[in-house]
Symmetry: C2
């Protein structure tokens, strides 16, 4: 039995919901209300000392951090294509997961948090970091259909949510045509569901 | 033939030098002088569009991002213990690599960059984020000898450099006794070399 500590509007939670959908795995959602401080209770901090969502509970196993959950689910999946057992493809996946954790998180996601949730931050600077992320992805997606090469992997899943909602942070996606075609490919995969439908 | 675009004082480069040492792999170092803008030349940006060190060249394969290089080298190694083929251990490794990329990078490494390289930043805030990283690690290392469990992995390598030089950023390591014992264990492994010796 899988349970996911989740917040509807969190792109990091959506990464996990996306992969669970692609793998057609059933799970129970446990909503965490950050505005109410659900993530600062001692019982939640015992699960994740970072006090963040998502957290996956798989029977008795507790995993926090969206990248770690993606690697865990994809390694356990019968369908190996999401995290193949090849050193170079894995390196490419980790490379793009690092971009998801740095430029995308501290640029696109942070700009969105300022505009959508009133978080404090230097919006133009965050948007600039976000555009750097978009340029990196667009350049790669000019060369390959998917971030790590010829097939979709958890790298695509890790990058997609905050890129898809970049405009929430006031960043236009219009200049990035390769990214737009990548959206179309990803959204055509069996099991795909838009963010609002998984919430 | 392995070549590493490297900067002596970079903890992210030291992660790669550490693993190359543990795996007893020969490599050539190509020093990159950031103060001279070596990382902003078009030839360097063609290797790594992010404009950062480290970059590993393994014959014709180019890999940027320290986490990606660690996963690549450890997956290719004969000795599988650095990145074992087990979903849960891998998830734990990725979890701690995420802490290395977030709290450690944006806390400990950033505070060090302010104090050592005169980078701009809110030092007390960076130190506070850094202490959060140290508390996370110390709590884990109270429970297990290594970050991902009973054996050393690339999670330990990813976290060690900027934790080891936390005091460069004005953060005392004295309260973290579990971290200090972990230093001793890691520094006793065959192939270990301190940062200055690999520079």
């Amino acid at each position: 039995m899988k349970r996911l500590y989740d917040m509807d509007l969190s792109g990091n939670c959506y990464k996990v919901r996306l992969l669970l959908g692609f793998l057609d795995l059933a799970y129970e959602k446990l909503p965490v209300d950050l505005t109410r401080g659900d993530n600062r209770t001692s019982s939640f901090l015992a699960l994740n000392p970072r006090g963040e969502v998502p957290v996956l509970i798989d029977n008795d196993t507790v995993i926090w951090d969206s990248s770690a959950i993606l690697v865990y689910l994809a390694t356990n999946a019968a369908d190996k294509r999401w995290y193949p057992d090849d050193a170079l493809i894995r390196a490419r996946i980790v490379q793009w997961m690092a971009v998801a954790g740095h430029e995308i998180q501290y640029g696109l996601a942070a700009a969105r948090a300022v505009k959508l949730f009133g978080r404090t931050g230097d919006l133009p600077q965050l948007q600039e970091i976000g555009r750097r992320a978009l340029a990196l992805l667009d350049e790669q997606l000019h060369k390959t259909h998917w971030l790590a090469g010829t097939d979709p992997t958890i790298a695509d899943i890790a990058c997609y949510p905050y890129v898809r909602c970049a405009e929430d942070g006031g960043i236009s996606l219009a200049p990035y045509t390769n990214i737009q075609h990548w959206f179309e490919r990803l959204e055509a995969l069996p099991g795909y569901r838009p963010m609002a439908d998984t919430a």
